[in-house]
């Protein structure tokens, strides 16, 4: 019935929505930033544990749609062990993939984040996918205030 949506709602997304990874408060986090999308009410808190310039652990709390939940869940998985510079590069790649401004996406670097490429066809949903990454960006820049996609 929802064949048209197969590119947007891939099974991986349903899986991460049902069972989000790293979904817990991190008591000893070094960075904690809130992300909010006022348009749809998606709200998340991202926690990072840093080891020098390396992200040694990442977790989140909050509520949102399947796209935003899967996006942040996947992100916390992929950034673990990455340096700040590597994480920023991933953000750049992810942004290009979802907004479609550049077709030259490094598929190898983007890895399983590629399941979110489908949002490009749904402009109203791009912000759902990018909220996690804007929040990460703020956390890496050590901005303490909550960030918003609006």
């Amino acid at each position: 019935m929802f064949d048209d949506l197969r590119d947007l709602y891939q099974e991986v997304i349903f899986d991460h929505n049902r069972n989000p990874r790293n979904f817990h408060v991190m008591e000893d986090a070094d960075r904690k930033v809130e992300g909010f999308n006022p348009l749809c009410g998606d709200r998340l808190t991202l926690f990072l544990k840093m080891d020098g310039d390396k992200i040694s652990d990442a977790s989140f709390q909050g509520s949102g749609c399947a796209i935003s939940t899967a996006s942040v869940s996947l992100m916390t998985e992929i950034v673990k062990g990455k340096t700040e510079a590597e994480a920023e590069e991933l953000f750049k790649q992810f942004h290009e993939m979802t907004t479609g401004k550049e077709e030259k996406i490094n598929l190898e670097a983007i890895g399983k984040l590629a399941v979110l490429a489908g949002v490009r066809e749904y402009p109203a949903r791009v912000k759902c996918a990018t909220l996690a990454w804007h929040t990460l960006d703020a956390a890496l820049k050590n901005e303490q205030e909550s960030i918003s996609t609006e």
Binding site: F2, Y9, R18, C40, G41, R43, A66, I67, Y122, A124
Partner: protein, 407 residues
């Protein structure tokens, strides 16, 4: 009910033939804005093709023609809401501008520090923010009457909040987020007993029921054209003549003056005092055409037909496991706001869109209502007179299928 001309009505709305994602459009976002019948579209084309010029100015034939049609539409609005005089019908951009106009003229000249403005907890942002701005400017206080879990105004609490300091009661006639129809007769009577003027925000009510401002005895009634099958960018402020006379103008410019020198300006009479600049001529004429269209069907017939649609949709929705209705007032217009267990409204919106169904997902410009029900957003199907039970079946099937797929 069998006499309701649903097939003829549907045929009058060209957009209903549109295919969305290769499926017939099921348009259930009418509370956000509704579609336009051919008669309204034609009236605008006709205006620009045969009768367009500036109004109230020219001695030439076209200007006279345009002025006649423009003022004719004002007459239609007056009759539609049963105002006493066309002097009480001010054309504005929409309900939002009308409320801002009242806040910046009537309220600003009558409200001072410590005075109170009373609204309800189910207001649209357009009936909250202008008052917050005014309060910040004047030191007045905004009082908010609470609602219950059915989404109804708790009337006793409302009445208790009417005080000696209340200078204005501003209440939504029908809630866009919940569908609740407020007991406006009681509200107006209670306010009148203390000589407090009442503003009704009729943006959502006006397409669903007949409205008689004299019977209601409200002081202001505002609505937008785009929710009444008329063009966007046009709306109406109704105000009692005596109040409008006493109010200072809103904007200065052409058309709202009688005489201008560099020393002083004499303002024009009603309604022109509040219509500075060249108005939205074609869309006013379109609003007149929409009213003609609705008069032919009859607002009471529209209300009866939509009540049947809502009853049908509500009964079906209640059978869906995991669906929670947001807003179950006894007095309710054709709006079905709901949330689903573990499925975000935006996912519902995208999924239904792929089936050709247009609903709204979000906070509906009523964030305090979302906070009250402790939901980030709701999905909202809102019905118009051109919707059918078959379309509701398509909606219900769509919801059941997406629940299945989300597992």
């Amino acid at each position: 009910m069998t006499t309701f001309p649903i097939e003829k009505i549907r045929a009058d709305f060209p957009i209903l033939q549109e295919k969305i994602r290769n499926k017939p459009l099921v348009y259930l976002d009418n509370a956000a804005s509704c579609q336009k019948p051919q008669q309204v579209i034609d009236s605008i084309v006709h205006c620009y093709s045969h009768e367009y010029a500036n109004v109230h100015r020219g001695v030439h034939t076209l200007s006279v023609r345009a002025t006649d049609r423009y003022e004719g539409a004002r007459e239609k609005v007056k009759d539609f809401i049963n105002a006493q005089s066309t002097k009480e019908i001010i054309f504005v951009r929409g309900a939002t501008e009308a409320i801002n106009l009242i806040a910046q003229t009537f309220a600003k000249s009558n409200i001072k520090a410590g005075d109170e403005i009373l609204i309800t907890a189910m207001e649209h942002h357009s009936n909250i923010v202008p008052w917050q701005m005014l309060c910040a400017e004047t030191g007045a206080v905004l009082k908010v009457a609470p609602i219950n879990l059915q989404g109804e105004l708790i009337y006793d609490e409302f009445e208790k909040l009417i005080s000696d300091k209340t200078r204005l009661v501003a209440v939504v006639h029908m809630s866009n987020a919940l569908g609740t129809i407020n007991p406006v007769e009681k509200i107006i009577a209670a306010a009148k007993a203390k000589n407090i003027p009442v503003l009704l925000d009729g943006a959502q009510a006006i397409p669903h029921m007949s409205v008689d401002v004299q019977a209601l005895d409200c002081d202001f009634y505002v609505f937008s054209g785009h929710k009444l099958y008329a063009p966007s960018g046009i709306g109406v402020l109704y105000g009692k003549q005596a109040l409008l006379e006493a109010m200072p103008p809103y904007q200065g410019g052409g058309d709202m003056i009688r005489k201008v020198t560099f020393e002083e300006t004499e303002y024009n009479t009603l309604p022109y005092k509040f219509e500075a600049g060249t108005p939205n001529i074609a869309d006013v004429i379109g609003l007149g055409a929409a009213i003609d269209y609705l008069n032919e069907i009859g607002m009471d017939n529209v209300a009866a037909y939509e009540a049947e649609l809502l009853g049908y949709a509500t009964a079906k929705a209640k059978q869906i496991k995991g669906l929670r209705l947001i807003g179950e007032a006894r007095e309710k217009g054709a709006i079905l706001s709901f949330v689903l267990d573990k499925i975000h409204p935006h996912d519902i919106g995208t999924m239904l869109d792929s089936l050709g169904i247009a609903i709204r997902a979000g906070h509906h410009c009523a964030m305090p209502v979302m906070d009250f029900f402790e939901v980030p957003a709701t999905a909202r199907a809102s019905f118009a007179m051109y919707n059918t039970k078959e379309e509701i079946d398509v909606l219900i099937n769509g919801i059941e299928s997406l629940i299945e797929i989300f597992g």
